[in-house]
């Protein structure tokens, strides 16, 4: 399976996840979106050595993954996109920061190792949170929420239109790549002699496509307004749940809950 087909599969997967039915899915995106942002900001604001304090934050996404019936494993599979740069940066921390921060038995653990682990955890947690948001809302509800949050209509419309054609264009690109490789079985990618014409053809056709879409819009009376299905508005209960959760995040940020839990038993 080539890279594009792979991406298309992942795309459809997200759509299917968003179509499921669960309390997490029913929770309005208008609350979910800011909540996700607060969660990620909280996670990012942990000090680089505060590994134990950060660790407790894993419970939130995990809980909602389970509640929403969304597979954690599929989410972690996406890490391959996020981790390279984080790894590249973090892996050098143990080299540069060698102050001993922790001693377990006879093993000294330096600040660099701790900050590297903190960095990785931040990467994983924030990925889990945004994955959860998309997997439980889908692009439609997210865009509706964006509109309610006063993101300009042009941008939201453009996002939805692009989303609609990403699959169409990707399918076309996938067919073209397959056709190319059927005639060039030993090449790994597109050879330089075809660089221009390959993507150029795709580009020219997409311009024709755009013309026709524009006509289709005009033919149906378009004059500047898109009517999307909004989502059911957030109730007071939803907002209260959101505020409660946000408060919990902040609580975990201010007090090292992990250590508190541990000290109960020491």
């Amino acid at each position: 399976m080539n890279k594009i087909d792979q991406a298309l599969t992942e795309f459809r997967e997200m759509d299917e996840l968003a179509d499921q039915d669960s309390p997490v899915h029913h929770f309005p995106a208008l609350v979910k979106l800011p909540l996700t942002v607060i969660y990620i900001l909280t996670v990012l604001s942990f000090h680089k050595y505060d590994l134990s304090g950060l660790f407790v934050m894993i419970l939130f996404p995990l809980f909602f993954f389970q509640l929403g019936g969304i597979s954690v494993r599929r989410c972690l599979y996406r890490l391959r996109y996020v981790l390279p740069l984080v790894m590249a940066v973090g892996i050098l921390n143990p080299l540069f920061d060698r102050s001993v921060l922790l001693r377990i038995g006879n093993v000294n653990i330096s600040g660099g190792w701790i900050s590297m682990l903190t960095l990785m955890m931040k990467g994983v947690f924030s990925l889990m949170a945004s994955y959860l948001l998309v997997a439980s809302s889908g692009i439609g509800r997210i865009c509706a929420a964006l509109r309610r949050l006063h993101v300009p209509a042009v941008l939201v419309t453009l996002l939805l239109l692009t989303y609609r054609y990403v699959t169409v264009m990707s399918e076309e690109a996938a067919v073209m790549t397959d056709a190319y490789h059927l005639r060039a079985p030993k090449q790994k990618g597109i050879e330089y002699s075809a660089w221009g014409s390959f993507l150029g053809q795709l580009l020219l056709r997409s311009m024709d496509r755009a013309d026709e879409i524009w006509q289709a819009m005009q033919l149906r009376g378009y004059h500047g307004h898109f009517h999307y299905v909004g989502e059911t508005p957030a109730s007071l209960k939803d907002w209260l749940t959101g505020i409660l959760l946000a408060g919990l995040f902040v609580f975990c940020r201010c007090w090292n809950v992990t250590a508190l839990l541990g000290s109960l038993f020491v």
């Binding site: 990620i40 996020v82 600040g111 790994k188 597109i190 795709l202 997409s206 020491v266």
Partner: protein, 351 residues
């Protein structure tokens, strides 16, 4: 080059959101004056095409590796800077939401690093002046126009990618996340992205010349319609670019000389700290004087430690450590429990 959430502090992430948001708001207001409505489909389809195009592998002759497409330059050459910028935003947003490519918080930074430079700097400082000039020959000379497109594409991709890579380094350093020193990080990122930019530039050039041959009217600032010319002449542009380069380069070298904790230092510098042994490098063989190393280590000692975190073997610290470890174990157990409970609920539901 997608920036990740984990590499940003909330303050830097927010700042980048504000910066990118302002650029977006400006673009939208500019487009409104234009015929924004009729441009929507083109913008959407072009964005979708760039998205698809970025997943295609282009083999680089002579190497086993592959290159990818640089969206910003291509989109602004096709749609102009404002529409191109908005299209790039949607590409990056979809990549962020659906492929976890870059994170939700890093989106602002990513838009700035990849879309802003690609569209605004690439268009106003490179594409427009070069296409408006009479470099390589007259305006109506077919071959000269081709050469101008090739030059603008390559230069545009290289410059905008360098700026983007530099911003990644700057944002990471300002966030105080990585221990990797600024100059070392920059020293790693910039050369890599020089190579990437070159390849992306070649791919972009190939595509744009193809479009030029087939449907020149699709390109911005090309052909008779664009005779009005640009406000900034080529000479002025080169001056601006030179000044920017000097500023950035000068700043970099100043920083590097005053604070020699660069890659060299990392590799050979601090013998006492065991770096040389650690990296398996012999200081003598590489001929680095230990004088520099000593000053470097002195600087390192005074600057890099956070005193409150310097670990001392006292009881209270040990106490928190023990409770921290135990607490982590409890959290881990809770995590496992949650996962099991989820599985249990689902089974019950399907049963």
């Amino acid at each position: 080059m997608h920036m990740a959430d984990a590499l940003l502090s909330p303050a830097v992430a927010a700042t980048m959101y504000v910066a990118s948001g302002s650029a977006a708001a400006y673009s939208i207001s500019k487009l409104k004056k234009d015929d924004e409505q009729s441009k929507l489909p083109v913008m959407a389809v072009s964005a979708a095409m760039v998205f698809a195009g970025q997943m295609i592998n282009y083999t680089i002759p002579g190497t086993g590796s592959s290159g990818h497409l640089c969206g910003g330059m291509l989109l602004s050459a096709l749609l102009g800077p404002y529409a191109g910028f908005l299209s790039m935003i949607t590409v990056l947003t979809i990549q962020c939401l659906f492929f976890a490519d870059g994170g939700l918080m890093a989106l602002g930074a990513n838009i700035w690093n990849m879309a802003f430079y690609g569209c605004f700097v690439g268009y106003f400082l490179i594409w427009k002046p070069i296409m408006g000039s009479s470099l390589f020959g007259a305006k109506d000379d077919h071959n000269a126009e081709r050469l101008r497109i090739i030059l603008a594409s390559i230069l545009g991709c290289v410059v905008t990618l360098q700026l983007g890579a530099f911003s990644v380094v700057l944002e990471t350093t300002l966030s105080g996340i990585a221990e990797l020193p600024f100059s070392a990080f920059a020293g790693l990122m910039l050369p890599i992205h020089l190579a990437i930019g070159l390849v992306e530039g070649l791919i972009t050039a190939a595509v744009l010349t193809f479009v030029y041959e087939a449907r020149p009217e699709l390109l911005q600032c090309v052909g008779a319609a664009a005779k009005t010319g640009s406000k900034m002449s080529l000479k002025q542009t080169i001056t601006v670019l030179a000044v920017i380069t000097c500023l950035v380069g000068g700043g970099l070298s100043l920083y590097a000389s005053s604070n020699p904790d660069g890659l060299e230092w990392a590799l050979f510098g601090n013998a006492d700290g065991g770096y040389a042994q650690n990296m398996g490098l012999n200081e003598e063989e590489f001929g680095i004087s230990s004088q520099a190393a000593e000053t470097a280590s002195a600087i390192q000692e005074t600057t890099s430690f956070l005193p409150d975190y310097a670990f001392k073997d006292n009881d209270s610290a040990a106490g928190t450590t023990v409770s921290g470890l135990l607490g982590s174990a409890i959290v881990a157990a809770a995590a496992v429990l949650i996962c099991m409970a989820g599985g249990f609920f689902r089974k019950k539901k399907t049963a």
